[in-house]
Amino acid sequence: MANEQIKLMIEDLDFYYGDFQVLEGVSLKILVNKVTALIGPSGCGKSTFLRTLNRMNDLIEGTKVDGKVLLDGQDIYDKGVDVVGLRKKIGMVFQEPNPFPKSIYENVAYGPRAHGIKDKDELDHIVEDSLKKAALWDEINDRLDQSAMGISGGQQQRLCIARALAVNPDILLMDEPTSALDPIATAKIEDLIENLKEDYTIVIVTHSMQQAARISDYTSFFLMGEMIEYGLTDKLFEKPEYKKTEDYITGRFG
């Protein structure tokens, strides 16, 4: 781990919804061009943690953050940080595919347009490139002008990934991106994640431990708002260091 480059450094992070503390003293490193999986039972704070990484929780009233989240050394919670610019760098994909009720083309072009790109050729190029990276281009390049609501759930999710890629982020956050998909669509997304990590740093929340084991390089186990164990995925699933981790991954939790 020593010679790995750190993309995000989280230091002693606390998070509150009102008076209720959801995260307690979480410290974690997210390494460049690696897939980091966050696992843990429902309510352990893993999704909340993911959302602190691009300040999505700012949108919820009454929340409070203590601690630091350093993106390439710069704290994203510093005053004066441009949150829109931050979310351009750190894209997000959600549990349910949530394409805009627009054409496939417009879904992908939306972000770049919002960031000021107007040139038609350039937009065409970004749309094609993003759809190719999301492994969707070959399936839908003949119907880019059709509604995104008319394609399958698995295709919609890959479209959402293409949409996130279109603004050229460094990091992709994925919150249970395959929980609404069938096994074949899931396998396609997993293949895609494997390819995407060449160019992006990926953090994924998943309820499927088998998925974490299959696709991630590092795994982090959360329990009741604390980060219990973090390490190489291989090691965590063969020989976890803490009993709490072993109990959870072997299904003896409770």
């Binding site: 431990m209 084991a213 063969e238 072993e246």
Partner: protein
Amino acid sequence: MVRSNFDKDLEKLNQDILKMGSIVEETIYKAVTSLVEQDVELAEEVIKNDDQLDYYEIKIDKKCIKLIALQQPVARDLRQIGMITKIATDLERMGDLAYNIASITKELSAEEFIKSLIDIPRMAEINQQMVRGALESFVNLDAEQAREVGRKDDQVDELDDQIIRELLTYMIEDPKTIKQGNKLMFVSRYLERIGDHVTNICEKVVYIVTAERVTF
């Protein structure tokens, strides 16, 4: 406690290994006793019972494969199931070696021994103790006991060297003893191999408990 069905299945697997192991222990005893007492009937029993061990090995293998396919075990569960299939293979091999000894019993049943057999039963006794200890360490997940049993194999190796040296002196002195001496050397080597298989089991127990790969 959740996953109680899975835990029950794992416990049954442990029981299968114990049962198979106790059959192996008994088989080693019977094979060597049949040799020493030139008891062909007992040797036949060992030969006939070998099918039983083959059956156990396949049965245990099937259960392990099924658990892996259906339960996706991880961590210690995975280490345990992965090693149980290998332990079953080691036990089956030990049964084969005892079978070989029983075959030699039949070949030598009408001959007078060139010397009284003392070290061979001693080796077999240590083997049996080792099998028992290895199985105990497996059930109790006791890595320390597994290491201790593994180290005992040195005694078996020493006895094997000693037996072979001794038989060689007989064979040099009187070439008529070569045929029998050679067969007894094989018996000694079979017992030495049995010790190696017990050692393998001990290594696997250490891996199950500590996830550490060791060789004794």
